[in-house]
């Protein structure tokens, strides 16, 4: 038996005994960012595929949520800062090596775009709405540029979705986060929550079934990525094996496999398959489970990652 006793005189708040620098704000924001990315991605995709009429809810109804989702996410992000009055320093520089800088700038791009998209489709919510004066000119300009806006939205939503994962994966210091799988995993999970939102808000039955099919595919990719993530950890260095152990017998095992994989991925997938087989399933159940699963995934990865470490 080898006895190792480590005594450290360090007890810095929010750093010891293990890192707790990021609380609910960051995973909540990452969920909101991913959700907005998913919603805007599908809206842009169906415009660019010329299927706006067929998927009118995805293009004209669901995107009205995106500005709210983004603004609430941004408020959470601001709450997370310890030096809030200095937040504008983010916009004095572009730092390509910092995922957070990427995130700040892509939000600067996609948030106004989500407002513009909502403004030019406002009549699908309020049919009588008329923009007045200069706003009318601005609106007609944006309506003419709709395809260009859709292209920008398509790319920026992918960057937004992927960056929510890269934010974590860029930290070599936290072995659980330091896997490039997190980028695609969070992107796919964000798209899946966006599809779930469309399932909830689509009135058209065929559109809803298409989104069920898309969501089913995305859930499959997510499961594949999760398996690969663990294979990568277990084939890596001791610190990453220890990080994986947090989920394979460690304190996060039950919450991760039950709440994220079981209730957030497998159960909604089964319900969606049953729906495609013409069983009557209330749509908000699988869609709601996907949304809760996406939120739990980010919370668990955020908290567990801060417990994984190199030293002591």
């Amino acid at each position: 038996m080898n006895e190792v006793t480590i005594i450290s005189g360090r007890m810095n708040p929010r750093v010891d005994p293990h890192l707790e620098i990021w609380h609910w704000e960051i995973p909540f924001y990452l969920f909101m960012g991913g959700l907005a990315a998913g919603i805007l991605f599908f809206a842009a995709m169906y415009v660019l595929l010329n299927k706006e009429e067929k998927f009118s809810a995805a293009v004209r109804i669901t995107p009205h949520l995106a500005p709210f989702v983004l603004v609430i996410g941004l408020i959470a992000l601001l709450l997370d800062l310890n030096h809030k009055a200095y937040f504008w320093q983010l916009y004095t520089t572009i730092r390509l090596q910092s995922p957070m800088s990427w995130g700040a700038w892509v939000l600067m791009l996609i948030t106004p775009i989500s407002f513009i998209w909502s403004a030019i489709h406002i009549r699908s919510i309020f049919p009588e709405w008329e923009w007045k004066g200069v706003l009318k000119t601005v609106e007609s300009f944006f309506v003419k540029q709709k395809r260009a806006i859709a292209w920008i939205m398509l790319f920026s939503s992918v960057i937004l979705g992927i960056y929510t994962g890269i934010l974590f994966s860029a930290f070599n210091a936290r072995p659980l986060w330091n896997t490039s799988i997190l980028g695609p995993l969070f992107l796919v999970s964000g798209l899946s929550t966006g599809a779930a939102m469309n399932i909830m808000l689509s009135k058209d039955h065929t559109a809803r079934l298409t989104f069920s099919r898309i969501d089913l595919m995305l859930i499959g990719i997510e499961l594949f990525l999760i398996v690969h993530m663990f294979m990568g950890f277990l084939a890596s260095t001791q610190v990453q094996i220890d990080a994986a152990e947090l989920f394979l017998g460690g304190p996060y095992t039950a919450v991760f496999w039950v709440l994220v994989v079981g209730m957030g991925l497998i159960l909604p997938a089964i319900l969606e398959i049953l729906e495609l087989k013409k069983y009557k399933i209330p749509v908000f159940i699988p869609a709601g489970l996907v949304l809760i699963g996406g939120l739990m995934l980010r919370f668990i990865i955020a908290y567990a990652g801060q417990e994984s470490r190199w030293l002591y």
């Binding site: 480590i6 450290s8 007890m11 810095n12 890192l19 990021w22 030096h83 200095y86 090596q97």
Partner: protein, 177 residues
């Protein structure tokens, strides 16, 4: 110029004078520390080994905290020291999460704080406060680019290690073993 520090683990007695000296010199808020002492006992009784280390920011050459900083508040300064500009720091915590040594902490004033190698003292020709206060003289500070500096000589004469070199940060805090 390449500032670095070497600490003799055979001489260190773990008195924590370096910790108090730093807290006093740098007005470190109560309950926080920029340097700390680690005591590791390893082995099976009666074959036990003990190592005492005074730890702090390693002022890495490949500093992940500088790379991930979204505003440029964390930067590489004179002699390769890694510093934080408090009025550029938004307190996002990315650098704290990025440090494999957990050498940074959120200052109650909002910005992130850490060891500076006492650059303000070094510029006056003094040693960092921790080095100056050490009663066993187990700490060496100096310029690695100068082959005659105390630290260059110490690293030449003695066996040394750095902490978690496999994290790839190229730390500039050496432990003589």
């Amino acid at each position: 110029m390449r500032y670095a520090m070497a600490i003799d683990t055979k001489k260190c007695v773990g008195c924590s004078d370096c910790v108090v000296a730093c807290q006093t010199e740098n007005f470190v808020p109560i309950g926080y520390c920029r340097d700390w002492v680690v005591e590791i006992v390893d082995g099976t009784y009666p074959q036990l080994e003990m190592e005492i280390r005074s730890e702090r920011c390693c002022h890495c050459e490949n500093a992940p905290c500088v790379r991930c900083c979204p505003t440029g508040a964390s930067h590489i300064s004179d002699g390769g020291t890694v510093l934080v500009k408090p009025n550029k720091c938004i307190g996002c915590g990315a650098c704290i999460a990025s440090c494999p040594y957990d050498a940074r902490y959120p200052h109650p004033d909002g910005h992130v704080d850490k060891c500076t190698f006492c650059l303000h003292r070094v510029k006056q020709g003094l040693d960092p406060a921790c080095v100056a206060a050490c009663p066993t003289k187990c700490m060496y500070f100096g310029d690695l680019d100068n082959p005659r500096s105390d630290i260059s000589m110490a690293l030449k004469k003695r066996k040394w290690k750095t902490l978690i070199p496999e994290a790839g940060t190229n730390p500039q805090l050496y432990y003589l073993i």
